[in-house]
């Protein structure tokens, strides 16, 4: 899957979970710009895992602040290039 496709799928997931259309760029910050709280973050994570058939380690969650961070993490996990994975 190309980065643009991942980005588009993430946009769809955010719109579904936040229940509103969202304008995002790779620089959009989850907490500051989209006002995603920890509960919504869990829902977004679950949807991302199901849609991409990956499992995201919670260790990396603190590092994911922007949409771009998430897209990169999804790319890594889909390639199976995550540490020991």
């Amino acid at each position: 899957m190309r980065r643009e496709e991942i980005f588009e799928t993430v946009r769809e997931i955010l719109a579904e979970v936040l229940n509103r259309p969202v304008e995002i760029t790779p620089e959009t910050r989850f907490e500051k710009d989209l006002e995603v709280d920890s509960l919504r973050a869990m829902e977004i994570l679950a949807a991302v895992e199901d849609r991409f058939d990956i499992t995201v380690p919670i260790n990396v969650l603190n590092e994911i602040r922007t949409v771009g961070d998430l897209v990169k993490e999804i790319e890594k996990l889909m390639e199976g290039d995550h540490g020991h994975l």
């Binding site: 920890s38 509960l39 869990m42 679950a46 919670i58 260790n59 199976g80 994975l85």
Partner: protein, 391 residues
């Protein structure tokens, strides 16, 4: 920017509560019995103590603790690895092994340290941890201290667990995967679907650790916890627990059929770099463990009380946890309503635990009542009546 500026949001919330109620830090001015205390100059029924079997004032436990202090002193002043392993520490470990029917047991200084000590050491960087999202902070902290990859599945969701096991197994055919769940979850008092989880553990060649902190002495015919009740003790590789609930003392343990568990003593920082349990705590825990074996009627009484309180609060229309258990959690969508009810209960002479987000699952607020075998039917009725007045 001062070093405390990061707490400004917390400080504002605290001030808000103080303005309304004058604060919510409860000081037990005098403890009267396992179920009664003086708070704010007033006698209250304690319904939020984890004192499931009500043994904190048991005569045998008190005598044992006093005798231990006289014989062995007030503290060990040393690590288990140095001068802090007394005969009584070893005896308690053997008694726990016998109680659980397992080969090896390690005693830690608190339940928190037991999870920290086991999870930070047992799981290495090439292993994976898969834990229930509602697991206790000590489980999360243990994996953080170990710096290992951690994945979580939705609370009590066997389907989600299997999905994650399948994905992780496909990508890591030979990795050790440790599944971590709890017997009774401390916030809502619900059990893990342990038979199903044990089945998945076998299917995907994983290990299984169950934290029985709230279920020791509470679940299972012999009081060994959910693994016993669910009939899957042979599939549970590690049990972690605490002495600070049913055993009315303080301390923690891990027990296993793997004799290699002993190796953790030499590698576990929370085991090595802290002083060992005081002789009094060890003696009280040993006496309480004997009582669990000898007086099964305490567990019966505990459950009668649990059913009575759960049933009555349900009748009153409160939103409760999914199943009756000694932890009766009353759920509030508005934290303010929980605060008001909590304070109202205290004014009516009933103390329960209040748990606010983010310590709660799902962002709701909880009033967490816990019952004890030591509560009389009249006390359970009084607790129910206090809730009824605020319903």
């Amino acid at each position: 920017m001062g070093i405390f500026d990061k707490f400004s949001k917390l400080a504002a919330q605290l001030n808000q509560v103080r303005a309304l109620f004058g604060g919510f830090n409860v000081v037990i001015e005098k403890i009267i019995s396992p179920t009664e205390a003086i708070v704010n100059g007033q006698k209250v029924i304690l319904a939020g103590t984890n004192n499931y079997l009500g043994l904190t004032f048991d005569k045998a436990c008190i005598e044992a603790a006093c005798a231990a202090i006289r014989a062995e002193g007030t503290g060990t002043t040393g690590s288990r690895m140095a001068n802090g392993t007394y005969h009584s520490h070893v005896a308690l470990e053997q008694e726990l092994s016998e109680f659980f029917g397992r080969r090896a047991t390690i005693v830690f200084t608190t339940g928190y340290a037991a999870n920290l000590g086991v999870l930070s050491t047992l799981v290495g960087r090439d292993d994976l941890v898969l834990l229930d999202a509602d697991c206790h902070a000590s489980i999360y902290d243990g994996t953080r201290l170990g710096g290992v990859p951690v994945y979580r599945f939705r609370h009590n969701d066997v389907e989600d667990l299997e999905k994650k096991l399948r994905r992780l197994r496909e990508k890591n055919p030979s990795a050790n995967i440790l599944i971590v769940v709890e017997g009774l979850y401390s916030m809502l008092g619900d059990r893990a679907p342990l038979a199903d989880i044990a089945h998945l553990k076998e299917k995907y060649g994983a290990y299984l650790l169950v934290d029985e902190a709230h279920s020791l002495g509470v679940l299972g015919e012999k009081g060994r916890g959910l693994a016993e009740e669910a009939g899957v003790e042979d599939k549970v590789d590690f049990i972690v627990g605490t002495f600070s609930k049913s055993l009315a003392s303080i301390g923690g343990y891990c027990t296993s059929n793997y004799e290699e568990l002993e190796l953790l003593r030499y590698a576990s920082r929370p085991y090595v770099f802290t002083a060992s349990l005081s002789p009094a705590n060890i003696a009280a825990a040993r006496a309480a463990l004997r009582i669990i074996r000898e007086r099964p009627e305490l567990k019966e009484r505990l459950w009668q009380n649990a059913y009575q309180l759960y049933g009555r609060l349900k009748e009153l229309g409160f939103e409760l946890g999914p199943e009756p258990s000694p932890i009766v959690a009353v759920r509030f969508r508005q934290p303010e309503k929980a605060l008001k009810t909590w304070y109202g209960l205290l004014e009516r002479g009933v103390y329960v635990n209040m748990v606010l987000p983010p310590a709660t699952p799902g962002g709701e607020a909880l009033l967490r009542a816990s019952v004890s075998a030591a509560h009389t039917p009249a006390q359970i009725a009084a607790i129910s009546e206090a809730f009824a007045a605020l319903a």
